[in-house]
Subunit: 268 residues, 2 copies
């Protein structure tokens, strides 16, 4: 049965859809069978990214390793059992339709608190939480003392993850392997970087997650969205000059993330 990777953070713009696309595509390019779901039903950035990929391949008569994307199936209210939530049913049908044929299932969550996102977190074998290197983003993980930088306690998003962990423990499921990924790291900003890094290390010990090496702010992570490509695909589509320093470094950052995820049967 597929290993389920949830990419979540209720803070908006942390990099969830970007990380989902790069992780799912990298695994597909390694030859694994990868399913993809997007729980942000209105914005659908991950779904749109994959639709753009399919359209690009069709236009250029090209085949690229591509995750299998599915919309959540529609369900009639009448088909639900007593008191069942319609989103729970839609999600479990979508997961069931992919988990037997795939090695991995990558599920992108919206940047807000929804029932779909809560349920998805309780399905996670691996949870990846991208985070902007900023106290505004950190504030959703934990409250800190502004003078001492000490952790005062968890906040809304970590509490949600805690609840998902409890649900899994009660159901006798494997614990969630939670990885926080620092995203859009700037080249300078040493002082802020050190302080946020320190706060993350403290928090990781208290609430139990690992901190992955991180992605820098690089235009290559964003500019290929209209064609549905990632930096890993550039060689296949004959794009010249893609081996500039930033792209080589971006490739290494992506490789480091995949290593840190410690996924079953994945040799990076």
């Amino acid at each position: 049965v597929a290993h389920i990777i949830i990419v979540g953070n209720e803070k908006g713009g942390a990099g969830k859809s970007t990380v989902s696309m790069h992780t799912a595509t990298a695994l597909a390019r390694m030859g694994h069978k990868v399913g993809a779901l997007d729980l942000d039903l209105r914005q659908k950035s991950f779904g749109r990214y994959l639709e753009n990929r399919a359209a690009f391949c069709a236009r250029n008569d090209l085949e690229l390793p591509t995750p299998i994307y599915r919309d959540l199936p529609a369900v009639e209210q009448a088909d639900l059992s007593e008191g069942e939530n319609i989103f729970d049913r839609r999600l479990s049908l979508a997961v069931a339709s992919l988990e037997n044929e795939c090695d991995f299932l990558v599920i992108d969550c919206p940047g807000s608190h929804t029932r779909l996102s809560q349920v998805a977190h309780s399905l996670a074998d691996t949870l990846v939480t991208p985070l902007n290197d900023s106290y505004i983003d950190f504030d959703l993980l934990a409250r800190t003392d502004p003078e001492t930088n000490k952790i005062l306690g968890p906040s809304v998003y970590s509490e949600m993850v805690w609840n998902a962990r409890q649900l899994r423990a009660q159901a006798g499921l494997k614990p969630i392997d939670w990885i926080v990924l620092r995203n859009r790291l700037g080249a300078q900003q040493m002082h802020n970087k050190k302080k946020v890094g320190q706060a993350l290390d403290d928090l990781s010990k208290r609430i139990g997650f690992r901190v992955a090496p991180g992605f820098s702010e690089r235009v290559i992570f964003r500019e290929l969205f209209p064609r549905g490509l990632t930096l890993l695909d550039l060689r296949d589509v004959g794009v010249k000059g893609q081996m500039n320093i930033s792209n080589v470094a971006a490739r290494q950052e992506l490789r480091d993330l995949l290593k840190e995820l410690r996924l079953p049967a994945v040799d990076v």
Copy 2:
């Protein structure tokens, strides 16, 4: 009655809370009376930023010009009239409690599509939409042709703004002055910057918004959140060395935004 400034974009992480805080604080520092509301009831980044400011001032026995922040009042279901939406009532009570005593009301919206956000957009005299310089963000404003970069049509967020404009026109209210602000601009990335800039210019003519000069990616826009300060406050709190090049440029970017907003009785 207060001039209402809505800061909105249903794309997560565009910079809404950051722009709300900097705009509201800059106006308060100019001597205007400013009210503040945060419609992201769970995340409350703008509200938390202002709470941090009040706490910092109390700790240091300091007075800084500060927007008046209010939570949305609680309302009993029983007090609603037939078919009235509870969020509509909570928002109109909050606005009514501030609009007579303030010159400006700054309202931060969540990074998703909610009823509160929709209603708030129909109250806008000025709408400010921050945007990351990325096609993933642009995708929520309009669909573009990946080969020609031409605009194919509006997408979900622009349609929501269009609906809000219709509602105001039917009610005989002044049209919304809509300003899009490019945010977290990088120093390099010339090629991507030019393409997104071109697409924005095309779109601004089709759907009627102005493009403000923009904020660069600067750590000073984010590192003061725990103390509730902005770069404009640094002199008042005796922080040395705050006039480095990046902070001087950030101050100018904020001033350029305030000019572009063309607010009544504001001399920047």
